[in-house]
């Protein structure tokens, strides 16, 4: 949240160096952007293995088609968009039974649920009630910083207005959900 250098900018630097021949910088890019991409895949309702497969597809597509990313500046948005498309394609694929409720399932383990009767757990449950698109947006933003918001929204298919960083409908929806929860402290 408070990182002085936006995530999109750090991704750009690493990708430009990789494209210009510094092969080692690819590892930096993968380590940097994989957590938000994981959040997107999971928000689409993919289980662990599906999410991992989706991310593998995305990263391999990037190294195979490095030149298709027109500008290093666009690599962060390209990765988000490609992950969203890959994950949502997998999620739409007919699977055995459980897809319908899989979309909003954060799937914490039973032990975690048992010991986490606290604010973090309650917040996570409210996040899980949001649309997959809003879950993805808020989860990615939580890894990024303010200058990245517009890029992230647009790459997730939710273009924002031109009036600077506003709360947006996803954060507004989460705040409304929390406001109706008597156990949630707003302070």
């Amino acid at each position: 949240m408070t990182d002085p250098v936006p995530l999109s900018r750090r991704a750009e630097d690493a990708f430009r160096a990789y494209r210009d021949g510094d092969a080692g910088r690819l590892a930096e890019l993968v380590a940097l952007v994989t957590p938000p991409l994981w959040a997107i895949a999971r928000s689409a309702g993919l289980d662990h293995q599906e999410a991992e497969d989706a991310l593998q597809t995305v990263w391999i597509a990037l190294v195979r088609h490095t030149d298709s990313v027109a500008e290093p500046r666009a690599v962060f948005a390209w990765l988000i968009t490609t992950t969203r498309r890959t994950a949502w394609r997998t999620a739409r694929r007919p699977r055995t039974a459980e897809l319908a409720d899989a979309v909003a399932d954060p799937r914490p383990g039973p032990a975690e649920v048992a010991e986490a009767s606290d604010e973090g757990r309650r917040l996570w449950r409210h996040v899980a009630t949001l649309s997959p698109r809003c879950q993805a947006l808020l989860r990615v933003i939580a890894y990024a910083s303010t200058p990245d918001y517009a890029t992230i929204s647009t790459a997730l298919g939710m273009p924002v207005g031109s009036i600077g960083p506003t709360r947006g409908r996803c954060l507004a929806a989460l705040r409304r959900a929390l406001a109706t929860d008597p156990t949630w402290s707003t302070t």
């Binding site: 949240m1 690819l26 590892a27 993968v30 380590a31 994989t34 957590p35 994981w38 959040a39 999971r42 662990h48 991992e52 991310l55 593998q56 990263w59 391999i60 190294v63 195979r64 954060p106 799937r107 914490p108 975690e112 986490a116 604010e119 973090g120 757990r121 917040l123 996570w124 996040v127 808020l138 989860r139 933003i141 939580a142 890894y143 303010t146 207005g161 009036i163 600077g164 960083p165 506003t166 709360r167 947006g168 409908r169 954060l171 507004a172 989460l174 705040r175 409304r176 929390l178 707003t186």
Partner: protein, 158 residues
């Protein structure tokens, strides 16, 4: 206040605190799995070097279901130009792996953790790993001849 008004408000301190709490909850309940970045980097490197995927031979195939790693005491992998046979023996805290690969002086990497464990076959093709931790492992056979493709095995559970 309507939905739209609510969404158009500028970000305030409450929003920032909420996103920070969300980041913490995400780390706790659905962080990327351990080793994910390493596995992705390995998959990328396999793709970049156009590795050939070896196939599992023989009866042990019956134990493989739905792409999941499997358990076996002896496994043989074959590829177009070579084969790799492995005998697995339980040792303290892991598995000893004795292998034979087609040819001497062949470099084989066992990928079980973040760092591969590298062995080179002797003149008779023999090589061994004294202890590999339990869990999924796959083997990367470096091409013995310049210009050949490396060979990667499917993942097995040891």
């Amino acid at each position: 206040m309507t939905l739209d008004d609510d969404a158009r408000l500028p970000l305030d301190g409450g929003d920032t605190r909420l996103l920070t709490a969300l980041a913490e909850a995400q780390d706790r309940f659905d962080a990327p799995p351990t080793g994910l970045v390493e596995r992705l980097l390995f998959a990328i490197s396999l793709d970049l070097m156009s590795a050939e995927l070896a196939t599992l031979e023989g009866g042990v195939l019956a134990g493989v279901r739905g792409g999941r790693p499997m358990t076996a005491d002896t496994v043989t992998f074959t590829a177009s130009g070579l084969s790799l046979m492995l005998v697995l023996t339980e040792v303290d805290g892991g598995v000893r792996v004795d292998g034979w690969v087609t040819g001497g002086g062949v470099t084989v990497e066992a990928h079980a953790g973040p760092e591969p464990e590298v062995q080179v076959s002797d003149a008779t093709g023999r090589l061994s790993w004294p202890r590999i931790p339990h869990g999924p492992v796959r083997f990367l056979i470096r091409p013995p001849r310049e210009g050949d493709r490396p060979v990667i095995t499917p993942s097995i559970e040891v």
